[in-house]
Symmetry: D3
Subunit: 128 residues, 6 copies
């Protein structure tokens, strides 16, 4: 069973990260991902710090960022990540129709990725 | 060496698909992917037909669709696909800054996907 | 540059494996895969021994075995393996039409694999 | 929890696909994969249409096609797909012995794929 | 449900492998992996024989070997393998701190692997 | 062609990271990975900062850390990363024999990972 470190049992170092996540996201508790990562406090702190910077407002809007995260996670086959980022994308405004189109793209990309590799297609000079 | 079927050497069945791709995209020639896929005309025709439907205008705008395709292809590690969809996303308006943010998300997703799997994190009830 | 050990430069231990591969396959020289693997003679010997046993005649015919090897290698995205097992399958009788159908299955499997994972589909009781 | 759309709750568009799958396969109900995919009716319809064409009788016999699908799905690590295509291959005549040989090939392919990539083996000129 | 072959129900051929595993590891029963693999006795025997040789004492110490096995298994996303090799590494002396550092490396490798592929970075001449 | 940003053409922000990498590693120039990543300076800076912390001396010795990085990169199939981390591991003392054993483990892990997934082996209670 994966060990999950709850706030009540966490060290001050871990609690500080949990507090920061909760404040940044406006949530009452952190997700299991963070509770599992807390077994190694430096990795917990570094990962949260990186994630916050990567997902901060920028040239891409927050919903697009979240859908890109979901697409990459689904392509990597991570079940936990698909569950968490599907929920996050919905919270940021992804409709059923948008989700359906994202799924369709994921499927087509998988198919054409596989075919391109199975045929060992040389890169077009125009792409370079 | 991957066999690429040029228009001049293609059967009428294959030429019809090439013509359709060229018309839909307003290009003078099709990419190597299609020329390689033409070794099996039914797969060429079916793949193009599916791709056109998936990438048609919908709830997501064309640039977002293209970036999702790129994210999924990069997460799957397909070099040809990364080259072709990076070019396509640029043609649809992806700036250097947007590309940089997409890369950052790809990297973070890879890291957190791996950590979630290596820790076998149980899915939060709230995601269900 | 990957170091490839040619027969002339090989130790007696490595030459014995090369001789065995050449005799079993009726070829004048071994493929680069074996020349690269020869950097670690125990792995060279063990891998060849395993491969010979796995690919020996059995309940499945040799062409089907080779196509299964190709399908698994393509799904894993190994470019060298796709090249070598496509050549091997052709040598054992895979026609253009059979190759085309195998490619179509590879593409569809990639698409439905991805969709099943992105939707986290629960296994049907009937499959158990 | 993945949302599964049962026949009784499905739109006429979705029911038409379910009816087509049930008739083509001679089954009383569709698998969970289709019930999950029904959240996006265009993807449901397109995927079924493609799958039917890809798996139709051709140069390869139906059992070989199903085993190739299983090999590709197992190489991609899709648990649902392994379960469904193992069941389908058995229904088409895959014996325990054939399954065992398929498993052995999957394992060997995984090992040699990994070694070829870890050694970055250059493609033999003879394969081109 | 995966069929697991218990010792009491195993053939003499399978029991001989189980006995060998139990003696080599000093355990009372074999893991589920072997009980599942026993559906194909030749693959059970060959896999155990290979594994024993690969994990035998050598230039690398047993704990390092086990952690490398865990790292490779986690990078491949195999949940069962992560569970079994995490347990095995702990039994060989992996501390919480060592596990935490291994996790951090896994995460960083995933991130930089993905970025290197998404940018299609050319190999430095100095690496060849 | 991947755009590589050389020191002479780099912004002060990018040069600062390059200088830091060169000082930390005692090298005259940074690898192509960093020159490619420099297209997005925030990702360049963040990735280097993370990598330095992850690879700093800790409970695991530097050579073991580098071999774990190599194992994870090879399992993920990243050719550039295999090339760079093989070179780095050699520079830190990995002998031919150690490399051979690492390769053998990579191959066996790939094989048993695939078999565990293809058989959908349930996790042993003892691992939890």
């Amino acid at each position: 069973m994966t060990r999950l470190i709850e706030y009540a049992d966490a060290s001050p170092e871990v609690r500080a990260v949990y507090d920061d996540i909760k404040a940044a996201r406006g949530v009452a508790d952190v997700n299991n991902f963070w509770k599992a990562l807390a077994v190694h406090p430096p990795t917990l702190a570094r990962t949260w710090e990186s994630l916050r910077r990567v997902m901060a407002p920028g040239a891409l809007d927050p919903l697009v960022k979240e859908m890109l995260y979901l697409a990459a996670s689904a392509a990597a086959g991570c079940a936990y990540c698909v569950a968490s980022h599907t929920a996050a994308a919905r919270a940021k405004g992804m409709t059923e129709e948008m989700h359906g189109e994202l799924l369709a793209i994921l499927g087509m990309a998988a198919e054409t990725n596989r075919l391109a590799e199975a045929l060992r297609v040389p890169v077009d000079p125009a792409f370079e």
